[in-house]
Symmetry: C2
């Protein structure tokens, strides 16, 4: 009793699939070209830059970037090699680690941000009407509510 997709749904699904892929691939490629880092790493730097003391627990950071602990661990290892992030022991939990954005990391982020934001704007927001932007937000939040009920919606 499979509930197959009808032609209209299939068209929607494929358009969504290909357009999101094209968008994320494009942004990833731009970031790799202009700032020598994948988008996932950029997100880590952004979250750290917004946190008090530019510091976050590894697990919070994993949550914030919708990344697995393992992935984050590997990523922070690389960011540490680049000198953009530093690890510190957590003073209140001896299992814990804190990731700290270094000054150098902050500068790299400041240099990368305008280009990336321009990419997001030109490839996404500039292509949609204000109404569509609202629709996209509502759609995304509906999906998030189902797939990741723990995450606050904004």
């Amino acid at each position: 009793m499979t509930r197959w997709l009808n032609a209209e749904e299939q068209r929607t699904w494929r358009a969504f699939l290909h357009s999101s892929r094209a968008l994320f691939d494009t942004l990833d490629r731009e970031l790799q070209r202009d700032a020598q880092m994948p988008h996932a790493y950029y997100e880590i730097l952004v979250r750290l830059s917004e946190a008090p003391e530019r510091t976050m627990r590894m697990s919070e950071l994993a949550e914030a970037t919708s990344s697995s602990r393992s992935r984050l661990s590997h990523a922070v290892a690389r960011l540490e090699e680049s000198g953009w992030v530093r690890r510190k022991d957590c003073p209140t939990d001896r299992r814990g680690q804190l990731a700290v954005l270094t000054e150098k990391g902050f500068e790299v982020l400041v240099a990368a941000a305008p280009g990336h934001v321009e990419g997001v704007r030109s490839h996404l927001f500039d292509q949609l009407t204000p109404q569509q932007v609202r629709q996209l937000r509502d759609i995304s939040e509906a999906l998030l509510g189902h797939l990741d009920p723990e995450r606050p919606l904004y």
Copy 2:
């Protein structure tokens, strides 16, 4: 003169980012669990199954799955190891290769499809109103039109 995102746009962007990631990750994981293949490989099998003779040129197939030639080449190599796809020389162009879906590959696809379609339906379509589905299609096609103008919209 960076055109930064305002709070509303940032909220939209992050919701879109996290929800699409959550959706695609979930579907990928389900497919990996139930059919031992990543979504990209599933798509290749689908496209081949829809083609005349269940056969396509490598470059067409790359286009259809929005994949690079290199990626497709690696992927087909693996699918060939699994016995799901076979390569054939192209009779009209000696540079060309044809990918052919094998009977075994077709059976694997038939077994995987219902579960995957149910995933797409439950995680995506069931979460949206019919109106939102139309909106999502229009939004996706607007983005596609900008990012990949060569691709037919449906």
